[in-house]
């Protein structure tokens, strides 16, 4: 961040730039990103194990437990006669939505980092160490 302006007009030189097409690509990749899959697993699997057998509830189930429980509380207030298993559908959908959000951030950071590596590697190799922040 030494002397470079972070404005978009200067981004082409040394700052990573993600255009409209890049954004779409990030969105597409986020649907099946490792971060998306991992987040969905973390939210759903531990909670599902506890749902199948109470003894298998663990601290890892807490995020899914909170999401599912709050979902049923809201649902029960709106439509009291639904049985609670019905809420698995919105729960899984909601967890995937959250996971895609996390995956999007992950892919965006990765794309930014890759773009940054491409644009600044040559300059960085000529800079004397320790002078960049002076």
């Amino acid at each position: 961040m030494s002397g470079d302006s972070p404005g978009p007009e200067s981004g082409r030189g040394s700052e990573p730039s993600i255009g409209h097409a890049g954004g779409l690509e990030i969105g597409r990749r986020a649907l099946t990103s490792p971060a998306t899959v991992a987040t969905a697993i973390v939210l759903i699997v531990p909670f599902a194990l506890g749902w199948l057998r109470t003894e298998l509830f663990s601290p890892l189930a807490l995020p899914g437990y909170v999401i599912y429980s709050i979902g049923t509380a809201i649902g029960n207030a709106i439509a009291p006669r639904f049985e609670f298993w019905v809420y698995w559908v919105p729960f899984v959908g909601g967890c995937y939505g959250i996971a895609v959000g996390v995956g999007t951030v992950y892919e965006w950071v990765r794309a930014r980092r890759d773009a940054g590596d491409d644009g600044t590697e040559a300059n960085r190799s000529h800079s004397p160490p320790g002078n960049s922040d002076d």
């Binding site: 749902w51 663990s58 437990y65 609670f84």
Partner: protein, 291 residues
């Protein structure tokens, strides 16, 4: 990417299994062991309520050699709430250290056999209006037994489908109590939470709640007409399996028995009249020692 996803899945599963084993709450085996062992000289008698009728059901009377409170426990007022039925059956083999433990595990036997909430005359727990005659033959038979024993403490075991104060329609994970049991109700609910609810299931913590007087429920009638300290316990089927609900029902039975002096076991709750939690001792009518 696939390898990484697979690795993440396997790691999560392994972590779940390990964390589940390590952080599972311990229950309260010592309290239940104390309830099961109890005094060696306990005598057990059985009586048939409403004999030679379709409602005929067994009442168990466990009498300890030392004087103490009479505690009545009811399971199966709703026939499909198996946790209370099993816990009450379990309690028929306990050994109180003082007083009498009177247990009716299958209060509405027809409902229990049909595995339905209500029996021949519908929901039994709406047949006990305070200040009036019970409104069905079964309710009259049950109430006759309650009047005969004139219990100091009544505990009625139930199960809901949701959580009290969280799911608007339901009353689970709550201990409803009569007006004279504020300190005990809160202390027992806290003890149950400590024994049975892990920190990562925060919505399942037990809530103590004073019950409105004058309703048509058995424990309300016992409180209103016999001055009994009365509790109605509700666990929940929301995310809890049958074994867990039954264990919670056992624990509340043991805690109530211990809290009122039927078990020589220091639960930290205190025996009625000797160890009330300080904060509310002045408001407890049975506080005795200093209030």
């Amino acid at each position: 990417m696939r390898r990484r996803s697979a690795l993440a899945a396997v790691t999560t599963l392994a972590g779940t299994a390990i964390a589940g084993v390590v952080s599972r709450p311990g229950g309260n085996d010592r309290l239940l062991a104390a309830a099961r062992e109890g005094s060696d000289d306990v005598t057990t008698e059985t009586t048939q309520l409403l004999p030679e009728t379709v409602h005929e059901t067994t009442l168990y009377e466990l009498t300890a050699p030392d004087p103490g409170p009479t505690v009545m426990v009811f399971g199966g007022i709703h026939g499909d709430e198996r946790n209370g039925i099993e816990a009450a059956h379990d309690a028929t083999e306990w050994g109180p250290d003082a007083g009498q433990l009177v247990v009716v595990p299958e209060t509405d036997r027809v409902a229990v056999e049909n595995d339905e909430r209500g029996g021949i005359d519908g929901d039994l727990n709406r047949h006990f209006p305070a200040g009036e005659e019970p409104t069905s033959d079964l309710a009259r038979g049950i109430w006759d037994a309650v009047e005969r024993y004139d219990p100091d403490v009544v505990l009625d075991l139930h199960r809901s489908l949701g959580i009290y104060g969280f799911h608007r329609e339901y009353v689970g994970q709550a201990l409803f109590h009569s007006a004279d049991a504020h300190a005990h109700g809160r202390a027992i609910a806290d003890a149950l939470t400590a024994d049975a609810i892990p920190w990562y299931l925060p919505f399942h913590r037990f809530t103590p709640q004073e019950s409105t007087a004058g309703g048509p429920l058995l424990f309300q009638k016992a409180a209103a007409e016999l001055d009994a300290t009365a509790y109605l316990f509700e666990t929940t089927a929301f995310l809890l399996n049958h074994a867990t609900m039954t264990e919670q029902s056992r624990l509340v039975t043991a805690h109530v028995l211990a809290a009122h002096g039927g078990l020589e076991y220091d639960t930290g709750i205190g025996v009625a009249g000797t160890g009330e939690p300080e904060q509310e001792s002045e408001t407890e009518p049975d506080g005795g020692t200093s209030a």
